[in-house]
Symmetry: none
Subunit: 132 residues, 4 copies
Amino acid sequence: MNITLEQAEKVILAAKQKSVAIDTKMNIAVVDAGANLVAFGRMDGAWLGSLDISIKKAKTARFFDMNTGVIGELSQPGQPLFNIEHSNNGLITFPGGVPIKNASGEIIGAIGVSGSSVENDHIVAEFGASSI
Amino acid sequence: MNITLEQAEKVILAAKQKSVAIDTKMNIAVVDAGANLVAFGRMDGAWLGSLDISIKKAKTARFFDMNTGVIGELSQPGQPLFNIEHSNNGLITFPGGVPIKNASGEIIGAIGVSGSSVENDHIVAEFGASSI
Amino acid sequence: MNITLEQAEKVILAAKQKSVAIDTKMNIAVVDAGANLVAFGRMDGAWLGSLDISIKKAKTARFFDMNTGVIGELSQPGQPLFNIEHSNNGLITFPGGVPIKNASGEIIGAIGVSGSSVENDHIVAEFGASSI
Amino acid sequence: MNITLEQAEKVILAAKQKSVAIDTKMNIAVVDAGANLVAFGRMDGAWLGSLDISIKKAKTARFFDMNTGVIGELSQPGQPLFNIEHSNNGLITFPGGVPIKNASGEIIGAIGVSGSSVENDHIVAEFGASSI
């Protein structure tokens, strides 16, 4: 099962609306089940460096089928996955990446959001993912 | 002057409609004046390898402010820009990348389209760019 | 639809047997529908440089859902896809990459073979792909 | 002395059986004495992001002829090899990579396993390595 472009655009629209609601400017990326980009939107004035981060967050969330922030706890110094970020041409393991599931609970893709605090990034990603 | 996300989404919508009209499945990328991705959409079933190509076409068109196919003529063996594709982490110099101008004629970004013949890619890119 | 590991190992076994039959030593890679590696085998004494080539051939065949050699004809100087090899972190566009289809004709992955002449590479890839 | 493809496939088979026995889904990579991939298998449903990690674990184990987890202790902040992961196009230094020795105790390659907890990854890698 793979996310469709129509679904991905719905996710981005929801994420944009949430970003506006909490007064932030986000980069929003959606990847499919194969971790390949399906849709992307960068809000006017959003940080340029967050473009790549949002895509890497989406990929990371699908690579391991979990929220990126969970991996980030495990990749700290002394933790089991220290420096896992060096794999897969660069992971981003702080919050803002969330798997996207269909009605049956299957993972069909992931969203990555970057442009504000990691708390805000996660809120927007979660809101986008839950719009499906 | 920079393309806005709203404008970029309008470009992608127009390009999608044109793609459907000529029975193709496209990857469509829009970059801003800084050659950074603003919006992207991959139509369901479009070639996976065209994802990267559509982004590189959009960047190439803005890097040199001309249609990608024009550069492709100059990058042939024996021509002045032979193998220019090695620069900028990889250019794509066949048709499908077109600069986007505002009403005043200023270049505010570029569109890159990939997923069919280069003729079709260019037709869709041209249609998208002219929707602004 | 995605190729399974069991199917991919069957493809590699068939390809190995064909390689032995025509007295060659091959690198054999199988990717899934997302163009990600599923199984790989390098025969003893096979060219080391063909390792990466076999993986890139498999990816290229799935990226564009056609035999790699077909793309190679279009990427020659003066042809429509000149220097397409600069995309996707490097394509290989000479023969030896073949899509893998299931009984319904759906593409579920691809095989890439490298280690001999491109004619032999293609023969082995074709044989492997048709074993499913 | 170099691991043969037949030996590498035996290692992967053993690792797959152990993975099933402990109810995990693994990516399993085997490299030779030159740290180049010999054989690889990704079990159905295994994490996609573990593909690259399993190969990097196998390479890392052979690059330094020790279990990857040992290097990971030395690469922590304040330790002698801090951030060694930046070398060699990316190392993975947590458990799951194990050198493979022949009957004489010579290192002939290495196995890298990724797809579960690092403890499980190491158990499967150790089991695979000891199958020779």
